[in-house]
């Protein structure tokens, strides 16, 4: 425990500052940079987009797949995201509005068949997304806007958990992730899991459980914020999204 209460403030700022925004990268003239940015954005948004199309536009499984593929393919080809203006709202809202517009146009013109046959198809796990929809049907009390946000949070946290697992494995520190998974991700609400019971289960001291879980949570938070930094365009949007996602004060 640090007793020095006079100088804790510099350390309090834990938000990532060096990460380049994928939103800006997706608008770049540099092809490689643009592709990098688009890949990050697609990673974060394809699943919310797919589920949103299924729900909002009542699209069938197959149509939603085509529309989601088409939307992101078009985003790559036509530089959809280049038109984003940060002063007009969050990137998340922009993506949803673009998606709505794209789907409306596609449905109106029945133009899916016109898409160029040679267009690159993205490798997206639609079966997995469909399975998720079946596992947890949308909450009817949530608006579609909220639903898109909820799915965005789920996607972002899912990516962060996966990265946490990879990073722990790369550092040869599997146990913090395993404890995190056991305590935070897999715990049955009725299960009386405690630090002591975990310590017994993994044959380590309870203090080590405390420290490993603290490490994993800290890393998880760092990764979430880094990812959020990547998929927002500026500091203000980042702060607003962080507040909406984590309840972090801006």
């Amino acid at each position: 425990m640090h007793d020095d209460t006079a100088t804790p403030l510099a350390a309090a700022d834990r938000f990532p500052r060096t990460r380049h925004s994928a939103v800006l990268a997706a608008q770049s003239d540099d092809v490689l940079e643009r592709e990098r940015g688009l890949a990050i954005l697609i990673d974060a948004y394809w699943k919310p987009a797919y589920k949103y199309v299924r729900l909002r536009h009542g699209a069938s499984n197959e149509d939603a797949k085509d529309l989601t593929q088409g939307f992101f393919t078009r985003a790559i080809e036509k530089d959809f995201f280049g038109g984003y203006d940060a002063s007009k709202g969050s990137f998340r809202t922009f993506v949803r509005v673009c998606l709505d517009r794209y789907v409306a146009n596609e449905l109106k013109a029945a133009a899916r068949a016109k898409r160029s046959p040679g267009a690159p198809m993205l490798s997206l796990d639609f079966e997995g997304a469909e399975g998720e929809l079946a596992r947890e049907p949308p909450d009817p009390s949530r608006s579609l806007d909220q639903y898109f946000h909820d799915e965005f949070a789920r996607s972002l946290f899912g990516l962060a958990v996966e990265q946490l697992r990879l990073e722990c494995a790369q550092r040869g520190r599997d146990l913090p992730y395993i404890l995190f998974e056991r305590y935070e991700l897999e715990r049955d609400p009725d299960e009386r899991l405690t630090y002591d019971s975990l310590a017994e289960e993994f044959a380590i001291p309870a203090t080590q459980v405390t420290n490993f879980l603290a490490f994993a949570r800290r890393e998880f938070r760092r990764i979430v914020l880094e990812k959020l930094r990547e998929i927002t365009s500026n500091d203000r949007e980042f702060r607003e999204e962080a507040k909406a996602l984590l309840g972090v004060s801006a």
Binding site: M1, L9, A11, D13, R14
Partner: protein
């Protein structure tokens, strides 16, 4: 990629904000609540083997002011050792840099949720305990500045605790003592309005820098208003309008119009405590508490000019037992005289 249920996503939202307690003597157990400044967690103090409430500033988004306010709050509470003010055990910075302080864990409920279940006399006694704690703080040069029912906890054993001293301010005389001076008074400098508009004194809403104990007396009047009517003195748009210049000078809807059954004497007491001009209010929390005592004891409340009928009712209420006994005696005596004369 792993699928996360909505419950897990919700849990992770909280977990991402959980304080980093590595290498500390604390072990976080659950989140108890969350406010604008940070969150409060139930934690185990593994050295002393007791549960504590850990208040931790929200993950800092370059907001040193929030961290400074948290430290100032801890320091202010630490100087107020009173049964009505939750004691601080420890304060500092966590390994992740976030400022925290540990305080006694209070097992109980907030006054705003508990009050509807309490009889009037009990509500008034709780209110007096709040007045006592606030009077103690004033005597030590501290103004709370955000008194409201939500910031009062009633413990399982009847203890009443005034919480959330996050925007409390030291009076000039107390702040002049260098040993007690908080790291910054900048967070509550002139012109910045902090607090809760529904209960806020007009001078505080106007951002005046010379907020005095009278502002807390006004808010205490607001708490009493809530305890009598079940609603804050100002709600919705009326509360928001108080942020406008001069908007907070309007008096609240009189309690007797806001709710049935409010005694006129208590209404008068509320309206005096909530007078727009500070000098028209009770001079102190003790004075306000003394008025409540008068009401509870069946004495005349100074703020209220009662009608003869009200006076008679009060007199009957105060001496009901004696009056009934005398009446019973007279009836029996009369009956005896009547029968023996026959």
């Amino acid at each position: 990629m792993r699928w996360l249920s909505s419950a897990t996503v919700e849990h992770l939202r909280r977990v991402a904000e959980w304080p980093d307690l590595a290498d500390t003597k604390y072990r976080v157990l659950e989140e108890l609540g969350r406010g604008g400044m940070g969150a409060v967690y139930l934690a185990d103090d593994t050295v002393l083997g007791r549960k504590v409430a850990l208040k931790v500033v929200a993950t800092g988004v370059s907001d040193p002011a929030a961290a400074e306010r948290m430290l100032r709050e801890a320091r202010i509470i630490a100087r107020l050792e009173h049964p009505g003010i939750v004691p601080v055990h420890d304060a500092g910075a966590l390994p992740d840099g976030r400022v925290f302080y540990a305080m006694k864990r209070v097992d109980g409920a907030r006054l705003d949720t508990l009050a509807p279940e309490m009889p009037l006399a009990e509500r008034l006694r709780v209110f007096q305990r709040v007045c006592d704690a606030v009077a103690f703080a004033h005597a030590h040069g501290v103004i709370h500045r955000d008194l409201k029912p939500d910031n009062v906890m009633v413990g399982a054993f009847g203890e009443v605790l005034v919480m959330d001293w996050g925007i409390a301010r030291l009076l000039a005389s107390a702040a002049d003592d260098p040993s007690a001076r908080p790291p910054a008074l900048r967070g509550t400098a002139a012109g910045s309005v902090m607090g809760t508009l529904s209960y806020m004194a007009p001078e505080q809403a106007a951002g005046e820098s010379t907020v005095a104990p009278a502002a807390d007396v006004y808010a205490l009047g607001g708490i009493l208003y809530f305890l009598l009517t079940g609603r804050p003195p100002f709600e919705g748009e009326a509360a928001q309008a108080r942020a406008l210049p001069g908007g907070a000078d309007e008096p609240p809807l009189p309690p007797r119009r806001a709710s049935d059954g409010v005694p006129p004497a208590l209404e008068a007491l509320v309206l005096r405590a909530m007078a727009a001009a500070p000098e028209a209010r009770y001079r102190s929390a003790e004075e306000l508490s003394a008025e409540v005592s008068r009401y509870l004891d069946g004495e005349r409340v100074l703020a209220h000019r009662e009608t003869p009928l009200e006076g008679a009712r009060r007199f009957f209420g105060k001496y009901r037992t004696a009056i009934l006994l005398v009446a019973a005696y007279l009836v029996v005596r009369g009956a005896m005289l009547f029968f023996f004369r026959r």
